[in-house]
Symmetry: C2
Subunit: 441 residues, 2 copies
């Protein structure tokens, strides 16, 4: 049988798998230090639990009838299952509840470059509170994870849905407000198609209203110019545009405070924060802060981290209102944006390989490996087919080991070690254990 994967699925070979594992542990460690608690939900749910939230997404759900004739489906994100989880386990959870979840999700999309049918999501959420401390906590925790991954500098762009709604009211009036959902979908394309393109889309659905080209142009022109100089934009909005709009002013004040505190925290010299009043984050359920993060050196890869505040997580499952704020790290995009070779080289440069010239010294080799690993060193031992030292050295060289220890009959009899520094090809014989440690530590 020909070994093959399904289209849209992939294997992770060691270099990439190790990098993913490292990023996930970083996220787990930082989330723990910030008081987030991990949970895990099933990969399969009742289809009706998952369906009905998003029109487009529904078509991409893997679903079938199981042998018990139940309609079941693979989760397409971690948010809908979390809503089911929160409603079902509410009594057992502290409120506010700070949750970390990392898992595989599935979408039967048309496969294309960088889009796969199975991928990982890494989500942080705080539910059960409207306190904007939670907004700061989610964004700053994500920023610390990105700083720890250490791929260069990155920028979080923040916006607030109430500010965006205020701008729509200001520029496009009540009629514009009624078309808000469509305006937001158009705005999501601003980065890709520019203000002209967005203007065209908006003008295509304002027929029969008072909204004309002048208003639409003024609106997108303000968004673009306020992104370039957001301090000026903030000034104009609070002093003029929103002076009679309490909701927009309240949003503006929250956005200002969150932005101010994130900057004051001095999270990392790589972590930058800015405002971008055009960010909408398409999904209709966001109601407060919304954010996106891009790599400064590689913005074309798109958002590597995003999220926002919502009014009610689990309205489909419980009458208990669960306001919250959440964000998601795009593990696959992040890894795609990193130089895997570079990351791996540094990871293996301290590795040690022990050569075994004949079977009789096997016990001595494993005892030495045990002693060195006990000191936290990365050690591998020969376990191939050919006992020839030259072959074992070739293997060590190909695998990128920096240090090689040879433990043959003479070494074991005299209780000494032969050491070889691979890069410079320097051999040292008759080392004591302490001398050996000096070479490899």
């Amino acid at each position: 049988m020909k070994p093959q994967k399904l289209k849209g699925f992939r294997d992770y070979l060691p270099a990439e798998a190790l990098l993913r594992q490292t990023i996930i542990s970083d996220m787990q460690e930082i989330a723990k230090c910030h008081g987030f608690q991990p949970i895990q939900t099933p990969t399969i749910e009742y289809a009706e639990t998952l369906l009905g939230e998003g029109g487009e997404t529904d078509k991409q759900v893997y679903r079938w009838q199981d042998t018990g004739e139940r309609e079941v489906a693979l989760r397409y994100d971690l948010t809908v299952p979390f809503a089911r989880f929160a409603a079902e386990n509410l009594a057992a959870l502290p409120i506010p509840f700070k949750r970390l979840e990392i898992g595989q999700v599935f979408r039967a999309e048309k496969p294309q470059k960088g889009r796969f049918r199975e991928f990982s999501q890494c989500d942080l959420d705080i539910i059960g509170t409207r306190n904007i401390s939670a907004d700061i906590e989610v964004i700053s925790t994500l920023a610390k994870v990105l700083a720890k991954v250490n791929f260069g500098s990155f920028t979080f762009s923040l916006n607030h849905r109430a500010v965006l709604s205020g701008l729509i009211r200001h520029f496009l009036g009540e009629e514009g407000q009624k078309l808000e959902a469509q305006v937001l979908i158009a705005l999501d394309k601003l980065e890709k198609i520019g203000a002209e393109g967005v203007n065209k889309i908006i003008l295509s659905f304002v027929d029969g209203t008072q909204i004309g080209e002048a208003q639409v142009s003024a609106f997108t022109h303000f968004l673009v110019s306020a992104k370039a100089d957001f301090e000026a934009g903030l000034g104009v909005m609070s002093a003029e545009m929103f002076k009679d709009d309490k909701e927009a002013l309240q949003g503006l004040s929250e956005l200002r405070e969150i932005f101010q505190i994130l900057k004051a925290m001095a999270i990392s010299s790589n972590a930058h924060f800015g405002l971008d009043f055009s960010i909408a984050r398409g999904l209709a359920y966001y109601t407060g802060i919304v954010f996106e993060c891009t790599m400064d050196a590689n913005p074309s890869i798109g958002s590597i981290c995003s999220g926002g505040r919502y009014d009610n997580l689990a309205g489909r499952f419980t009458r208990e209102p669960l306001p919250g704020v959440g964000g998601s790290l795009g593990l696959d995009r992040l890894v795609a944006g990193l130089n895997i070779e570079e990351q791996t080289d540094s990871a293996i440069s301290d590795k040690i390989f022990i050569i075994l010239p004949q079977e009789a010294q096997r016990e001595a080799v494993f005892i030495l490996a045990q002693q060195l690993r006990g000191r936290g060193l990365n050690v591998d031992v020969f376990m191939g087919t050919s006992y020839k030292v030259a072959n074992q050295l070739r293997f060590a060289s190909r695998m990128g080991f920096k240090h090689v220890i040879i433990l043959g009959e003479d070494e074991v009899r005299n209780n000494v070690y032969t050491y070889k520094q691979m890069q410079e090809n320097i051999e040292s014989k008759n080392l004591t254990f302490d001398e050996l440690l000096g070479k490899i530590q």
Copy 2:
């Protein structure tokens, strides 16, 4: 809609999820230090890739036709997908290849206590070598993971398929050898139903052979007595039973050496090794060493870790022979055998909570949290609804925080901190930052 999970699936709440996360990181860290490399394969494969290996297992596979009319299935273990992976990626892998894989697998079994339809597997394998150093490496790495998890002492029981075959030949003759597969399945039940029960099963399928009750009883009697005193068993086998059986003698010599080196490595005072010549590990594909590990204080929970050596991993996919050895950690059983409460209590006892009596000091609270987290401390900040200090203290107490810091208007103005030790309810006021650190570190 009523929030509900499918039968046979479960949510992991924070305490259990954290414990699982910790065990997985321990395994990843130790595997890395031992030269194992992580890989990841898709959760979904072509049905024909997964089916046809095991008769019983085939019935339990979740399978359906996807929207592209492909027959697809969820993996039911990590071994069959690894065979596909190895055959497909052989040219890119170092040989021998040492692989770690951790992932979710699915079986549509009848749900029962402790058996779920989705569970985790944690596999280590070394492929491409017949060198028994690989056997030692797999077993000792698993033992180190279990020692790190630190749930008390545990025992690995080892056997060798060639030794077991030799015993079947010796006691049951050539006719017994032809029935070996059935004998192995019967032996797998020895622990549960005792020698008498196993005798009955074996006698039920030896009709028409020379094998009688006397031979069968002598066989199981030897297995039971040699488990109690395996040194005596080893002596009798090598000196008498196997003196004309080269294959069995070779197996015995490998088993002895592996056992001897595992003991000599002094892995942990909690790690014990023994021999048990009755272990068969049902699966027909094992050909060399086989092993199982149980918790000494809780053997009834069954094997928490098991594996063995096989002749060819990927015969269905490639002509390249891939002999290897592998083992699997039973994460779910392991966690079921641990006292979660106990594990969690110690995990949260060092947590710090910062109280915010009014919004104006929010920035100061986040800057303090950032400073403390930068020192590796586990810190949470108030983000609830009620700013009353008494309510925040109640929340901190319920959540098990040991240290509470109060940062109000006076504290921020005077650049001091109020600290409360929660267990003994001792409050200290006007602390400097260094004095505060002295209390909480």
